[in-house]
Structure formats: C-alpha cells, structure tokens
C-alpha cells in the first residue's frame, strides 16, 4: 500500500500494543481517537489520524465488551482506516471501507484466543496441582502475550495485503457508497447509545435524557456544556442518595410519595 517496511512494522506494533493495553494496563483501552492519531503521526498526518480516530470513537460510543462478550474492535478499525486514508490519499471513506469490516472480523479472532486461554489456564491449574509453581508462573503470561495477536494479525494483513482490496473498492466506489459510509458513521453511534441506555436507570432518572436532548437539539449547546449541567445535577443526587441510605429506615429506592425533602429541593 505504499508503506515502507518501517511503517508496516510500527503500525503492526501499535496494533499489538493497543490490544495488550486493552487487556492489561488499560491506559487507553477504548480510545479509538488516540490510536488513530498515533497511526496518523507515524504516517506523517496528525490531522487525518485525529479526524478518522474521532469518527470511529463516535461510532463506538456505548459499545463495550461487557462480561466477556466480544465487540467490533474499533481501535483496530481506527488504525487501519487511518493507514488506508493517508496512504491512498482518498480520505476517510476509503479508510472506513476496509477498517470497519476488519474491526468486525476481529471478533472471531477474539473468540478463538479466549478458547486458547481456556487450554492454557487448565494447564496452569494442573501445574499448580502438581506443585510445579515456578512453571505455572511462567506459563500464565504466555496468554498475555498471545491475546494482542487479535489486533496485530488483522492489521498486519490489512496493511500488507490490503492494496488490491482497496483498489477494487475504490474503483467500484460510486458516489453513494461514500455517502453511505458517512451516513453509516452518523447512524452507528445510535446502536451504542441504545445499548448504553439499556444499562441505565431510565425509570428513575430518565428525564435527564430529555433535558440533555432539548439543550442540544434546540439550544445547540455543546456536549461539554451539557456535561457541566449534568455534574451540577449529579451532586445533589449524590447527597440525597447518601443521606437516604444513612437514614435507612427503608433502604429501597422507590420513592413514590413526595417526602418533605423532595419538595424542598427544587
């Protein structure tokens, strides 16, 4: 794809580090925007990396690998999309066309590696039972070093062999395809957001959704502004909940009737 050997190695390394970080140190676990920018820096185009990473960050909002499930690997998509966008010079849409599908394929690799971990963990357990403790402590980190392959291998393959695929896509790409990708990018956050909402106490605090929505939709308030209002609202909520659990005659959180406190506040 017009990349030098060094760039290929660096990008693959970044992908490897990204996944390792996700599973262990979690410095930048779900930060597609960071990984995209880093890739951009490697390829000499900070802005493109930033913008591509940001787009994928937005697509991935609310999407989280909860409870051992697997999700599309958005940081990987960011790395690949940035690499493709910069090297082909055809911009982000071309990048997303390869990056997003690969990110989704990573789910399968993730499952395979987890199954492999089962095997290793059982082996380690057996070693412990045989009192071969030193061996056990050497075996366990092997899993740590294998798991990042989930990112590194697809990225490497995409970056090295992606050229013909990209060319095919670029040749085929009618105008609506680009629009389609952009629309998809604008629509996808809705999935994550809907997912997020299923975890949240909508019955109890759902009206804040309305407040945030109205501020943004009608007043065009920036997200940070809404966040500040949210923080301001969170503080009395916290105090109220703490005092509720301290007064704890009725520990449950159903407050169907208005208490004197409720009426005083607003």
């Amino acid at each position: 794809m017009g990349l030098t050997i060094w760039q290929v190695i660096l990008i693959t390394l970044v992908a490897y580090i990204q996944r390792m970080d996700f599973a262990t140190t979690t410095i930048f676990p779900a930060h597609s925007i960071v990984w995209g920018t880093i890739t951009g820096i490697i390829l000499g185009n900070f802005q493109m990396g930033l913008v591509t990473g940001a787009t994928l960050q937005l697509m991935s909002l609310g999407v989280a690998a909860v409870g051992g499930s697997s999700t599309p690997d958005y940081p990987v998509a960011a790395i690949i999309s940035t690499a493709v966008a910069i090297t082909t010079g055809k911009g982000m849409a071309a990048g997303l066309a390869l990056g997003v599908p690969v990110g989704m394929l990573c789910i399968n690799l993730d499952v395979v590696l987890k199954l492999l971990n089962s095997f290793f963990t059982n082996k380690a357990h057996q070693l412990a039972d045989k009192h071969e403790f030193k061996k056990m402590t050497h075996l366990i980190p092997v899993m740590t070093f294998l798991m990042p392959l989930e990112s590194a291998v697809p990225v490497f393959l995409a970056v090295v062999f992606g050229k013909p695929i990209i060319n095919a896509i670029l040749n085929f790409m009618p105008k609506w395809f680009t629009t389609g990708l952009n629309v998809a990018g604008a629509m996808l956050p809705a999935v994550g957001i809907a997912m997020l909402l299923t975890y949240m106490p909508i019955k109890k605090y759902g009206y804040w959704l309305l407040i945030g929505f109205t501020l943004a939709a009608y007043l065009k308030m920036a997200t940070l502004g809404v966040a500040l209002i949210g923080i301001a609202a969170a503080i009395p909520t916290f105090r109220k909940q703490v005092s509720k659990s301290n007064n704890s005659s009725d520990g449950s959180e159903k407050s169907n009737g208005l208490s004197k406190e409720d009426m005083e506040d607003e």
Partner: protein, 269 residues
C-alpha cells in the same frame, strides 16, 4: 517474636506493592470457563508463596483462585487485596471465606466497574473528544487520555486499599458506591441526551414539492422537532435491544440501512 506475630505479619509493604503491580495483568487471561482466574493467580503468587510455607497449602490456595472469577479488572483489585489480607491472617482456614467474598462481590463490582469505566467514561469523554476531534481539535482527546493516564498511574493503590481495610471497607463502600452510581447516571443520561441530536447527525435527503413550493424533507422534520430522526433511531434500536436482538446484528443492520438509504438518496449527512 511470638507465634501470633509470625502468623499475622508475613507480607511486607514491598510484597503488597508487588502484587498490586502484578494485577496489571488484568483480563489478558480471560477465557470462558475460568474468567480471569489465571490472572489473579499470577498477580498474587509471590505473596501467596510467602504466606504458605507448605506446598500443599499453596496448592489449596491456588486451587481456590483458579475457580471461575470475572470482575472488572480495576475494582477487582480491591477484592483481591482484601482476600490476600484474609489469607495472610488465617491461612488455609480462610479459603472458604475468601471464595465467598470473591463470589459475592464479583457481580456487584463488575456492574459498577463496567458501567463506570467501560461504558460511562468512554461515552462521555469519547463523545466530547470525538466531536472536537472531528473538527480537527485534539483538546478533548488530550483530556480523555490524560484522565485515563491518571487512573493508570494510581490504580494499583486500590489493591493496597483492599489489603489494608479488608472486609470492612468493602461493606461500607457498598452504600457510597450505589449513591455514586446514581449520581453518575444523572450525568450520563444528560450527556447521552445531548449526544443523540449532535452526534447522530444523519439527515433526510428527500425533497418535497407542495403546491409549487419546494420543501426540504429535513427542514420539515426540523420544524416538527430538531433531532427527530436520531431520537427515533435510538428509540427503535433500544426497543430491539430490549427484545433481545444482538448488538452486532444491529450494527450490521444499521450499516445496511445507511448504505441502501444513501444509494436511493434517502439519507445524507
């Protein structure tokens, strides 16, 4: 040095710190039948080796820890710190209690940890960083990255905290944590509400003409309510998720709708 002292003070500050650092192995050993058990085994091994002089006892302790364990990696450190303290005090006799503590707390701690750290923070900060980043402004990204860097640098202390306070902390933390989660939910819901019309910004590309006047479809919708389409989309997806559709399926469906919509000139950005 009498017997009591010996059986209680086996671990030095350095040992505790070592295990805390080793917990950064995190979820990298995750698998479907034992969760992250191998990780906590590896993290605690040096301390456990010191506590249990007899190989047989060490094996029993490790055997306990190889049992299924899945918790949020950051908050898990509090639990494991506490169990290490328990094992240091009572050795093999504490193993049942250790397992009970782990089994009892891994659920609630996962709930809080997952909600806060895998979902809420990335959404709030990711939305801010992403929106700014799309305009070419890296400021949001630096804030987001900076916050997590701080977490990373100081996270190990949670293990020490668990170790020092043992079971007491964990119980008293429970109440505060649920209040905190409520408060964060308020913040989260407001931000999510704001994200819906601003980030999910696809528009109707259709135009209508009525009585010789050309109207843009999007304009009509905006007159009804700005952000109507995004709100509808989220509503539909929420309903489908509640009905049990899988997230990955929905992602594919949305991509499909987007592509088809663009091809037929229904949607644009």
């Amino acid at each position: 040095m009498n017997n009591k002292m010996q059986s209680n003070e086996k671990l030095t500050k350095k040992d505790v710190f070592k295990s805390a650092i080793r917990s950064y192995i995190g979820i990298s050993t995750y698998n479907y039948d034992s969760g992250m058990a191998a990780g906590i085994v590896w993290a605690q091994y040096p301390s456990l080796r010191k506590i249990y002089k007899k190989d047989k006892d060490l094996q029993a302790s490790l055997d306990n820890h190889f049992k299924f364990y899945n918790c949020h990696p950051w908050l898990s450190e509090i639990i494991i710190g506490a169990t290490t303290a328990m094992e240091e005090k009572n050795g093999v006799a504490s193993l049942d209690a250790v397992q009970d503590l782990k089994a009892g707390l891994m659920g609630p701690f996962s709930g809080i940890g997952d909600t806060l750290i895998w979902v809420m923070f990335p959404t709030i900060f990711g939305a801010i960083a992403g929106s700014m980043g799309k305009q070419g402004n890296p400021a949001g990204m630096y804030i987001y990255a900076g916050l997590y860097l701080l977490f990373f640098l100081f996270r190990w202390y949670l293990y020490v905290l668990g170790y020092k306070s043992g079971t007491n902390l964990v119980v008293s933390l429970g109440d505060k944590l649920s209040a905190f989660t409520d408060a964060i939910s308020v913040l989260g819901l407001s931000v999510i509400g704001a994200i819906i019309p601003s980030v999910i910004n696809f528009k109707l590309a259709l135009n209508f003409s009525q009585a010789g006047v050309k109207l843009s479809g999007q304009h009509v919708l905006d007159q009804i309510m700005p952000g109507l389409l995004p709100a509808l989309l989220v509503g539909i997806l929420y309903y489908l998720l509640k009905k049990g559709r899988k997230m990955t399926t929905l992602i594919l469906v949305v991509i499909l709708i987007a592509m088809v919509g663009a091809a037929f000139g229904i949607f644009k950005v």
